[in-house]
Structures are given as C-alpha cells and as structure tokens.
C-alpha cells in the first residue's frame, strides 16, 4: 500500500496526464460527428447570436451577386414552367396522373456559421426542426450539392459540408452515366475527388459531374462540379479531380431538400434486410 502511494506521488504528473488525455481521446472517438454536433449545438446557442450578426454583415456585401443569382434562377424556373405548360397544351389527351406524388420537398435557409479550413468542416443553418428540417436532408446552394444535415435542434441545423473527410457522395459523369464515389481529400476547398470510375470509360476535362440519387438523400441530377484533372491509379480506376461548382467560401442562401418517400422506402426494406 505504501509503495503504491509512493508510486502515485512520484508519477502523479504522468498519471493525471494519462487520465485527462484518456478523457479527451474518448471525446474524440465518441464524437466528431453528429451526436456531438448536436450536443455542442445546445452550448453553441451562446455564440450563434454573434455569428448571426457577422453573417448579416456578410450578406449585405454580397447583395448584388445574390440578387443576380436569384434572377438567373427565376429565369430558369420560368423556362421550365413554360415548357411544361406548352407540352400539356400540345398533348390532346391530358394525362391525369393519380399515382404521381411529390417526392422531394424544398425549403430555403441561411448559413449562419461556416468553415472551410478544417479537415472536417460543418456549417450551421438558421432553421431547425420547427421549420421542418430534419436529419439526412440534402443541402444545395440552389443548384449545386453542398452537404447533408447531420443534426437538428429546434431552430438550428448542423450540416456536414462536402468539405469533410467523412463525407461520401454517389456521383456520376453526366455524359456517360458511369458512377463513382465522390469525397474530399482535405487539400483545397474548391476541389474534390471522384474515385471508382473504371479505366475503359472515356471522358474529358470539363465534363459535368452530377449526383446519382442512389443514396436517397440527394435527388438525381444535382450538379456537383466539372472534371479538372484525372490520372490512372493502380490497374483499374481513375482518380478524377473535380472542380466544385459550389463556392463554399461565400455559401449563404441554401436549399434543404427532403425526400418525402425515404421513410416509406426504409420501412419496406426493413422487412427484408
């Protein structure tokens, strides 16, 4: 007993170090993803007030660009509307589609805090459960993929950014439909990497990369980026550098996209898997 006490007294520095370091490592291994993002969100309520002010100022400086992009989007929507209305006029027997249901719901939100300089980036939206957002919804900057919601509180949501080493997205080359897995390599906030495209596929620099919709999170055909460079790795696959279309440094107004049929799909699959 005495020896033990002596030992403890002699090495107390080391022992306390090991205990505290153990707690820290436990925190790391236990978190860094959504559960913790959620716990921390509660405490971060303190800082979001200030972050909101900063973000308001930032919006003011970008008003011009924002209104331009909104105008552009309006034009696109009007075109789509025109097309679908005209198409209906042309068909002599109007189709009454009773099976059709809306699959995706869209809502807008503002980014109140954001980062691009870590290896695991998250950003925070100013809407949460009360406004109809929920975990696993896709987030786009209007047209291009930006992230996935990983935690919601009453009025805020935490989004795992595409710029996160843990983020994986099923994406394909638009021109030929071959799909692979898109992830971020932690290097540059404007580039990501598309893997698992086999080497017999032909494509060129500048080709568009879009989402596949296989994950039931992102709808099909949301743009991700363009091919900026590629190289062969190993014997089978390309490693494709993708120039991201989303500018994460000035991400501000985003859309959250929910898949209304996801629950149904999962419940059905649960019966068999």
């Amino acid at each position: 007993m005495r020896n033990l006490l002596n030992f403890l007294a002699k090495y107390n520095h080391l022992i306390i170090f090991l205990i505290l370091e153990g707690i820290a490592i436990y925190l790391i291994s236990n978190g860094n993803s959504y559960q913790n993002a959620r716990i921390i969100k509660g405490i971060r309520g303190l800082t979001t007030g200030i972050e909101k002010k900063v973000s308001n100022t930032r919006t003011y400086f970008h008003l011009r660009e924002i209104s331009q992009s909104l105008a552009r989007e309006n034009a696109i929507l009007r075109n789509t509307l025109e097309r679908s209305v005209n198409r209906n006029d042309l068909s002599f027997s109007p189709l009454v589609d009773t099976i059709h249901q809306q699959q995706y719901s869209y809502s807008t939100a503002e980014v109140v805090s954001n980062s691009v300089n870590r290896q695991k980036n998250f950003f925070t939206l100013n809407k949460g459960r009360e406004q109809g957002l929920s975990v696993d919804m896709a987030v786009t900057d209007g047209k291009n993929a930006a992230g996935v919601i990983v935690g919601c509180s009453e009025n805020y949501s935490v989004v795992m950014s595409l710029l996160n080493l843990d983020f994986k997205l099923s994406a394909r080359i638009k021109s030929n439909g071959y799909f692979g897995s898109l992830s971020w390599d932690g290097r540059d906030y404007s580039h990501a990497v598309l893997n698992e495209i086999p080497q017999h596929v032909t494509f060129g620099i500048g080709d568009t990369i879009e989402t596949t919709g296989y994950s039931a999170v992102f709808p099909e055909g949301i743009l991700v980026g363009t091919v900026s460079d590629f190289e062969k790795i190993g014997g089978d696959f390309y490693r494709i550098e993708v120039l991201l279309l989303t500018d994460f440094k000035k991400l501000h107004f985003v859309n959250a996209i929910g898949n209304l049929k996801k629950k149904e799909q999962i419940e059905l699959e649960k019966l068999f898997l």
Partner: protein, 168 residues
C-alpha cells in the same frame, strides 16, 4: 493572489474570445489556421504545480472545443502542451534560474528565450492538434506542412500579443 487569479481569468476570456471570434474566422487557405489560445498555457506562472497546469490545460482546450464544435481535439492537444511545459522550462532555464513567483514572459527573460519557448510549445501543440484532426497518417507530409505554416502564424500572433501586453 486573488488579484492575480482575476487577472488570469480576464486574460483567459480575452484569449478565448479572440480565438473564437477572430482567429477561427481567418481563412487564408486550407493550410493556415492560427491557434493563439495556447498563449494562456505559455504564460501561467513558472512554479504552478504540474497537476494544476494539466487541469487548467484540460479546461482551456475543452472551452475552445465547445466553441469550435470539435469535441476532444483541442482538449487533447492542449493537455499534451501542458504536460511537456515543465520539462521544456527545465531544459531551457536561464542561467540564474527563474524568479520566484514570476511568469515565463518576454520581458522577464528576453526575446530570444521567449521565442524558443513559444516555438517549442506551439509546435508540440499544433502537431498533436493537426494529426488528431486528420486522425490518419496518409498525407503525412501535407499535415506536417499545415503544422509548420500554422505554427508560424500562431507564433507571430503570440509575439505580437506579448508586445501589446507590454505596452499596457
């Protein structure tokens, strides 16, 4: 004694606010992110007991973690820094030893001494932090580059803050 504790408390709050509101928002590129809050660990009194230093390090890191949404990372790295500090102080002790009751500051022991002291602890802290952040050894040298670049910026800002402290 109480006066001194208050002073350190105030210093702690200032450093945390600076880190969270200003330095966490500095985004030069993907490589550089200064972490200046480690200065709090640097400036604690020389003869502070080891266990207290470790516990203070732990809670400093935890505070930063809460504000930057990164559970455990800063805690772990700061505890490492707090652990090595007494050994470093012993190795680089000035010829006449440390003044009793003094802080390891630039005015007490000179610019050169303070620079060495800061470099060692900041690099130790940043190394722990950045490798814990990626949590893998692929891209070893890229992470090393991030450590060095960020350390350079952190050290510059810490020296700057130390000068500002002197004017006050």
């Amino acid at each position: 004694m109480i006066n001194r504790t208050l002073k350190f408390g105030l210093f702690f709050i200032i450093l945390v606010l600076l880190q969270v509101l200003l330095f966490n928002n500095i985004q030069f590129s993907g490589y550089i992110n200064p972490y200046i809050y480690i200065m709090f660990i640097l400036l604690l009194p020389v003869e502070i007991p080891g266990w207290l230093l470790l516990i203070i390090s732990f809670f400093t890191g935890l505070t930063i973690d809460f504000f930057s949404g990164s559970p455990g990372m800063h805690t772990s790295a700061t505890v490492v820094a707090g652990f090595v500090r007494p050994y470093i102080l012993r190795v680089i002790s000035p010829r006449d030893g440390y003044e009793p009751g003094g802080n390891p500051s630039m005015f007490a022991y000179g610019v050169r001494w303070f620079l060495i002291y800061t470099i060692v602890i900041v690099v130790v802290h940043h190394t722990a932090l950045f490798y814990l952040e990626v949590f893998r050894f692929t891209d070893f040298f890229r992470t090393l580059l991030r450590v060095l670049l960020s350390s350079l910026f952190s050290i510059t800002f810490i020296l700057l803050l130390e000068y500002i402290r002197k004017w006050k």
